[in-house]
């Protein structure tokens, strides 16, 4: 009878080696999926864009980033994967994220607001012309009455990603 012995080079338990390898693979796999999801979100935002991108300032796409998530577990802080889009950051730097997706702003508004000084907005906001909304002259004053439609860019990206993940797992 032949007995085959398998041992690691550094005499560490094989179980620990396997856990380390699979954990690393799992993390890389999760990172690949998170990066792919970020690309799909970018694509969905671009595909549903109704006006030209403003030349300066914060852009929604730039504020959606892949982040490592660390959570507290029984054995201390553990890396539990990657997240795409940090709502706390979006709520500060791209507050319009929910308005574009759900058709309603964080304030509950569905139609662009006026200003305190001039409730009738001074600006330019006609989706059909792909105009940029800007306050002040030389634009003509308008009073928007049309609600911003839900673009559903989050759901669009999810729909594509779920199929991609299934393909990867086949």
């Amino acid at each position: 009878m032949a007995i085959v012995s398998i041992a690691s080079k550094d005499n560490q338990p094989l179980s620990a080696k396997i856990v380390a390898i699979t954990t690393d693979l799992s993390e890389k796999h999760t990172k690949i999926l998170a990066d792919a999801h970020k690309k799909e979100l970018d694509k969905s935002i671009e595909d549903t864009r109704e006006r030209t991108m403003k030349p300066v300032g914060d852009h929604l796409k730039d504020q959606i980033q892949v982040e490592k998530i660390a959570e507290s577990g029984f054995s201390g802080v553990v890396n539990s994967g990657y997240g795409v889009g940090n709502i706390a950051i979006l709520n500060i730097k791209a507050k319009w994220w929910r308005w574009l997706n759900y058709g309603i702003a964080g304030t509950g508004r569905r139609i662009p607001p006026g200003t305190k000084e001039n409730p009738r907005i001074t600006g330019h906001f006609v989706p059909g012309t792909k105009g940029i909304f800007t306050k002040g002259q030389p634009k003509f004053p308008i009073d928007p009455k049309k609600a911003i439609k839900a673009h559903n860019y989050i759901e669009k990206a999810l729909g594509v990603m779920i199929s991609k993940v299934r393909e990867l797992l086949k």
Binding site: R98, Y102, I104, G108, R109, A147, N152, K156, G159
Partner: protein, 168 residues
């Protein structure tokens, strides 16, 4: 000259709407308002919210077509998915979740998809023949957060995203 009428996207959208309207009617599905009066659930089509719509309501529209995979190499037959958004808006908090559960249970086994053609003698009732069975995959299901100043349509809102799969 060809006048283009119902295509696969609108066929699927309308089949789903008709399916849920039938279920609401056969079950006499109602929800209570703040005064305890029973209100029939309405099913509407369209991406844009219409301020004349009556709550409680289920709003349905086709949003995207994420998948169009070939069934086999060399064939142009495809397995396609049609992603629909189902926004549920109710009068009282909690009802939106209950109504979402009801919708999910009703469409879980799939929906019969019809091919519609215009009916000049009765435009409200287009003629239809069965096109196939649409399978349903749920993509997301969660409440849309309420907002302090939101109007009645957004106070109690729930969103379901589903893919309808059909060969063709």
């Amino acid at each position: 000259m060809t006048i283009l009428h119902w295509q696969i996207g609108t066929n699927i959208e309308n089949s789903l709407i008709e399916f849920l309207r039938d279920k609401v009617t056969t079950q006499s599905l109602q929800l209570l308002d703040v005064n305890g009066a029973a209100k029939t659930v309405n099913v509407y089509a369209g991406r844009e919210l219409n301020n004349e719509w009556a709550l409680p309501l289920i709003q349905i529209y086709l949003d995207s077509k994420p998948d169009a995979n070939r069934l086999e190499i060399g064939s142009n037959k495809r397995l396609r998915s049609f992603q629909v958004i189902i926004d549920i808006r109710t009068l009282l908090p909690g009802q939106e979740t209950n109504l979402a559960d009801w919708v999910e249970a009703e469409i879980n086994n799939g929906v019969t998809i019809y091919d519609y053609t215009p009916n000049p003698s009765n435009p409200e009732a287009p003629t239809k023949v069965i096109l196939g069975h649409g399978r349903v995959d749920f993509i997301s299901s969660l409440p849309v957060l309420g907002y302090d100043d939101a109007d009645q349509y957004d106070q109690n809102r729930y969103r379901i995203t589903a893919k309808i799969w059909i060969n063709g």
